[in-house]
């Protein structure tokens, strides 16, 4: 199959069950099966003890319906749920869209763009704890870097970043984008490079250049990758812990918590582990449909994660 045809498949649905129906060249014989079982035992053991058992344990911890009555009557939980929704919807979509545009910028292979890419990816390699604490210090009023800059430029004291809920929440979203945009830029960059040049040449002959090329050629070619990456990132971000825990630390007055930090505080600071589990379980009505959609897309398009 030529690379052009391969690339064209990005835009189409194609089942990936082919390989399963391929006639087996070597059916596992007696001794092979023994080897095969021995080889998968480590993974099955890890999966059973650290995924299945904790998941069932968690379901059991959060199974009491009265927990949810307590949860939903807590005004802090309602704030947390709204925060989580805003954090995920705005954070993921802005990040993905910017990453998509930036991957186009990094297609330029001149030496300075390549060096810039090496620096641009550093946030992704650094520990979240380190960079988010640094961002937290930038925002701490009176002596933080942002405040000092503000004073240098305007001659007045800066706004109180972490005492206003919406500014603190914005800071969380921006920090999140700062940390994770490079990773997805790299993914899109890889996807863009897989688009064969002759498609662009053909499009150019048809008059698609600049913005029109972006809208009518590049984006349709990457649509599947974009959708799957967005769904995957949504799932991961729903459970995002370090961003809010370190950047705003829930300040002011726990008004900027998200589900992961709320559950954490309920479980380990206030001593209600079941309530903490219930808080995270309350994300399941959103999480499960997204996961199902994601699985279906992965199946349908054959894009591998």
């Amino acid at each position: 199959m030529s690379s052009t045809q391969q690339a064209l498949r990005f835009g189409q649905s194609e089942p990936v069950h082919r390989s399963r129906h391929k006639p087996w060249r070597f059916r596992p014989q007696g001794s092979d099966t023994a080897w095969a079982v021995a080889f998968v035992i480590p993974y099955v053991a890890v999966f059973a003890t650290f995924v299945v058992y904790p998941a069932l344990f968690g379901l059991w911890m959060g199974s009491n319906p009265s927990l949810y009555g307590t949860l939903f009557s807590d005004p802090r939980y309602v704030t947390t749920a709204i925060n989580t929704l805003l954090f995920v919807v705005i954070g993921v979509n802005v990040k993905m869209f910017l990453a998509f545009l930036l991957s186009g910028y990094f297609m330029n292979r001149s030496w300075w763009v390549r060096s810039l890419l090496a620096i641009y990816l550093i946030p992704w390699a650094l520990p979240a704890l380190v960079v988010f604490t640094s961002i937290h210090f930038m925002l701490v009023t009176q002596w933080g870097l942002l405040d000092s800059l503000w004073r240098t430029v305007t001659g007045e004291d800066g706004p109180l970043f972490l005492t206003t809920a919406w500014i603190a929440m914005t800071a969380n979203v921006v920090a999140y984008i700062w940390k994770w945009m490079p990773f997805w830029t790299l993914i899109f960059l890889g996807a863009r490079m897989a688009i064969p040049q002759d498609i662009y040449e053909a499009a150019e002959i048809d008059g698609a250049t600049g913005t029109r090329r972006l809208i009518y050629v590049t984006f349709p070619m990457l649509a599947n990758v974009y959708l799957i990456c967005t769904l995957l990132s949504t799932v991961w971000t729903l459970g995002d812990f370090p961003t809010v825990y370190f950047v705003s630390s829930g300040a002011p007055a726990r008004l900027t918590d998200v589900l992961a930090t709320y559950g954490f505080h309920e479980a380990f600071d206030f001593g209600y582990p079941n309530l903490g589990v219930a808080a995270m379980m309350s994300a399941l009505p959103v999480l499960i449909p997204v996961v199902i959609l994601l699985m279906r897309r992965v199946r349908a398009t054959g894009v591998q994660l």
């Binding site: 596992p28 993974y43 999966f47 998941a55 897989a194």
Partner: protein, 295 residues
């Protein structure tokens, strides 16, 4: 008539050249903005680390009298939060290397079985891995914390190693199955004709040919283990068992902490992932695109 054409062409060529120069300048300007955006928080870390203790609160953009004093304090363990710093640094290394080793071993064995031995119902295993991959790790934190107590593993490095291996293995399985498809089955078949058993095929043929994927996934697993915070914090709380991440976050327990020591610790803690990143950048990028976009 014939004289006007060359003139016009000259004009348009100059016009395009100017336009291209302009575009390049705009791209460079944008690159500059992106550079500032990327390094500001990192610059902030250095700035705080180079400050002397009482100068942090002066609120300047560059320290008046930069000093390496805080790095000396960290390296000589000269502060009570940092008493076991090098021991904890070692713990981080043990955790990182163990997670890497176990992830590579378990992941490659599993994908070898599914992809090469064609185990019946092997797809169940792949789906199980996919499920683990898409569940946020933090949602399992509270149950895993309780379960580690049941297993009697709290405050032991093995608890973190096992938990993080669990979360790193699914990615390993995907990359390995993806990459494994490029290794021809005929190699296995001819080895079988020569009388090799599956273990020999795995060791002699599969692993050597998988080397690029092993490096990519190994780097990923090491970064994941080194950079992780939540599970380290929950499962390790004694000074002897802590990793650097937990020790570092201890500074945040008090409002009076010496932030310059904290940031110096943070910079030292961030060095291994940076070295790893620059050392294995090519492989990591290959691993990501290997998994991310194959049609």
């Amino acid at each position: 008539m014939s004289a006007t054409f060359p003139g016009r062409r000259m004009h348009s060529r100059r016009f395009y050249r100017v336009q291209r120069r302009f575009g390049e300048a705009a791209a460079m300007l944008f690159g500059l903005v992106l550079l500032v955006w990327s390094i500001t928080p990192i610059y902030n870390m250095w700035m705080i680390a180079l400050d002397s203790h009482d100068a942090i609160f002066s609120g300047t953009v560059w320290p008046d009298s930069p000093t390496l004093e805080s790095f000396r304090v960290v390296i000589t363990e000269d502060f009570w939060y940092l008493e076991n710093f090098w021991h904890q640094f070692g713990n981080s290394f043990i955790v990182g290397l163990s997670v890497t080793f176990l992830t590579l071993l378990i992941g490659s064995l599993a994908s070898f079985t599914v992809g090469r031995l064609r185990l019946r119902h092997g797809w169940l295993l792949t789906n199980a891995a996919l499920m683990t991959y898409v569940i946020p790790a933090s949602f399992l934190a509270i149950p895993i914390y309780r379960i580690m107590q049941i297993y009697g593993l709290q405050n032991q490095l093995s608890s973190v190693i096992l938990a993080l291996t669990t979360f790193a293995t699914p990615y390993a399985i995907f990359i390995f199955s993806q990459y494994g498809k490029s290794i021809p089955m005929e190699l296995d078949e001819s080895a079988r004709i020569d009388g090799a058993n599956p273990l020999q095929i795995y060791v002699r043929i599969y692993l050597p040919l998988m080397a690029p994927a092993l490096v990519a996934v190994g780097t990923y697993a090491l970064l994941l283990a080194w950079n992780e915070y939540l599970y380290n914090f929950l499962l390790l709380s004694t000074p002897q068992s802590m990793t650097v991440a937990v020790a570092l976050a201890q500074f945040l327990n008090s409002d009076e902490s010496p932030w310059n020591y904290m940031m110096a610790t943070a910079i030292i803690y961030a060095l291994p992932p940076i070295i790893l990143y620059y050392g294995f950048r090519r492989y990591m990028a290959a691993g990501l695109t290997m998994g991310g976009v194959k049609g």
